[in-house]
Symmetry: C2
Subunit: 433 residues, 2 copies
């Protein structure tokens, strides 16, 4: 019987393992709880209606169509039976493995304030993105409908909590929407008066970048009308607003970009994990005491050159190809590559239209040139020729016309069991929270 490899999670890490195993004589099963691979670095563009969902997501089984050695299953993992060497899916199906790769990513975390999620959704999945998109766009619509000035101001206040790359990129586009794209479309409210806030508990924004780039990003955001608050942790989130120290800020649109928590892999494996729930693995990415199990990507805690490997796409891909090399070597009797070493491919983040920051070792770049480099790099990394073409056209169009595309309010948070009817309220308050 062929060696059976089960890969849980079809993100960057999981799919890179599949790629790296091309031509190896084995049976591969890919399990994911969603039917699509997601290009997460551009998810904030879906959340802000610049791109459509299908611009950055592709059916997994369509990506793996030509790999006859791969079976794709849409399923939710409930556990791993390490004695029987089987992955247990919800509804009881068991999938046997000889090698198991777990790369199930992270979710946002609220540091013990889980009830904040209702008011401050995070951004990790397509559903998260369409939820945020709907809230953002409905806030502008409600401001237009409102005849009460305080209510209108609250609707036009947008707060992003957490100033890593995701928070900075989100707030940059929200400011662009409010101050440049939407003003011509509203008649009663002035969207240019919108208050767009970036809130960071730490001392500066983009802490992973150097001081200079961080200061440039802050300046670039301020020039675009973003109010940047550093050193101010949020102490309360409600349906009516947030509390920063002594100050209450009325807002109905808050986005959480402040913290993450690894998936449940540690519980499935009964494994040791760090404070964020990442499974602590050996330096070759295997589980301590069980070399048949690999944990990769954001789900894993691993060090390289004395530093923790960051939870970024290039790290996930590098771990994926390292794992594929390890498995391939074991199957062919060759020498496994051993220790995983992370090559830092640099940091990139946009801070609005025509402005970005790039850091690669000692090399630093900022401004419009960095923005174009960022755009080209992202198009290059998007999987598939078709998507590259479409995303390029979309951006080029947005850039030249000053318009964006995907501003549709569709999905509802509480949809009735019987589907939508004309009775439904596309504007109901209950949508909001």
């Amino acid at each position: 019987m062929k060696h059976r490899i089960v890969i849980v999670g079809a993100g960057f890490a999981g799919l890179t393992v599949v790629q790296g195993l091309k031509g190896v004589d084995c049976d591969i099963t890919v399990i994911d709880q969603r039917n699509h691979h997601l290009f997460q670095p551009l998810l904030y563009q879906v959340a802000t209606s610049m791109l459509a969902t299908s611009d950055i997501a592709w059916p997994i089984r369509s990506l793996l169509r030509d790999r006859k050695d791969v079976t794709t299953l849409l399923g939710k993992v409930d556990g791993v039976d390490r004695d029987a060497r089987e992955v247990i899916l919800r509804h009881g199906t068991r999938v046997p493995y000889d090698s198991l790769v777990i790369a199930t990513g992270v979710r946002h975390a609220y540091f013990g304030k889980d009830h904040w999620e209702e008011y401050a959704p995070g951004l990790k999945t397509l559903e998260d993105a369409t939820t945020i998109r709907r809230r953002l766009l409905l806030a502008f619509e409600r401001a237009e409908m409102s005849e009460n000035e305080a209510e209108r101001d609250a609707q036009l206040t947008f707060a992003v909590i957490g100033a890593g790359p995701t928070g900075v990129e989100l707030v940059g586009i929200i400011a662009e929407l409010a101050h440049r794209i939407l003003p011509g479309e509203f008649r009663r409210s002035d969207t240019r008066r919108a208050k767009v806030m970036l809130i960071e508990a730490g001392a500066r924004i983009l802490p992973a970048f150097g001081d200079k780039l961080s200061a440039y990003a802050k300046h670039a955001l301020s020039r675009r009308g973003v109010e940047v608050r550093t050193g101010t942790p949020v102490t309360e989130c409600t349906s009516d607003g947030i509390v920063l120290g002594e100050e209450f800020i009325p807002t109905h649109t808050v986005i959480w970009a402040a913290g993450v928590q690894a998936s449940q892999a540690k519980d499935w494996l009964h494994a040791k994990a760090d404070h964020a729930g990442r499974v602590i693995v050996n330096d070759d990415l295997t589980l301590p005491g069980d070399p048949s199990i690999f944990v990769l990507g954001d789900t894993a805690h691993v060090e390289s050159d004395g530093q923790q490997v960051p939870g970024v796409a290039p790290a996930a891909k590098q771990q994926g190809s390292h794992t594929a090399r390890t498995i391939r070597a074991r199957l062919t009797g060759a020498e496994p590559p051993g220790r995983f070493r992370y090559r830092n491919m640099g940091n990139l983040a946009t801070v609005g239209r025509n402005a970005a920051v790039i850091e690669y070792g000692r090399f630093q770049m900022k401004g419009w040139l960095a923005w174009w480099v960022w755009g080209i790099a992202h198009i290059y990394f998007l999987i598939g020729a078709r998507s590259r073409l479409f995303v390029s056209l979309n951006w080029l169009w947005s850039f030249l016309s000053g318009q964006n595309s995907a501003r549709l309010i569709t999905q509802k948070e509480h949809s009735p069991s019987s589907g939508q009817s004309i009775e439904d309220d596309g504007f109901a308050r209950r949508d909001r929270d």
Copy 2:
């Protein structure tokens, strides 16, 4: 004070009124319960994952951006106060009018069997389309997971009820998905074994077309693997299947394309309506006894040359421009155009890839040439240069590569109030019904 025109519904009829009033010195308010105009003739392509939602829908206020005389409101109408001449929105806002245009379309109707909607959703809105898309795609996924042959067969049975253009177009693409696009992507189940059924209570499919074209369409569908059942009304719909006469057909994916019911305009206006709830209007499209109110499009019952005007996009557009001419004439003191006359622009329907039927008076066309004419006509009528380009590229790509694009399962029917978490079950049975 300027003449105030309120238009409820931004479909083909409503937006054509706005276009026709360009340059007239008046205040226009457009009210819709959704933020987007929808190109409904292509909605079945979203439901079958050939197009993305944003390919066929555009924010209304973005379409009307340059019309400074137009205010767009996202709101749900609850009634019309004809004495005060005000439209009443949910949450109490009142919008005063001098002329009122109501063009709020139709929903699917179940002829008194409303509980069927849960098992057999209809297709009128973007949400309907994404609901159907999710059910279709999940059925293939569940067949792949299932280890029980009867269950697998039930998952791979798809029934479309109603053989008008929408039903025929839906079933044509579903057959294409099952028999041509998906087979290479599944390893355990053979999607070519899928049973794709078109069920019609009447004697033949596409009854609005001539006998010959109707017979051609039936033949073309059969050749594509569709089982066409005419003269067989559905007598029961459950979560496990449908009943046709004496026969029970196990299926979990049923789509309703059999009947429509007009929106509630008749209740708002306390007006006379026909059996399908369409408001009966004068031959100039005004409400009997109230010349300041117009009812258009699918919501109106009006005759032209002794025949009821059909509920199709060209009729809605013609009624829109007729109404704009009437209002314009009244405001300028010119002679109003009087009676509305419908010019039949012909009938078009696709019956799968490379096959369509076209009827224009005595002229008839069928086959691949008709398919290309259909494609070009639809691209031409899509609003906006950008969308034309994108839809063309998308179709060209699908045609050349044999692949389609938007096969994402995202939105859920019963989403928890607190947003999605990694705990959510992308494969839960509760999604199904």
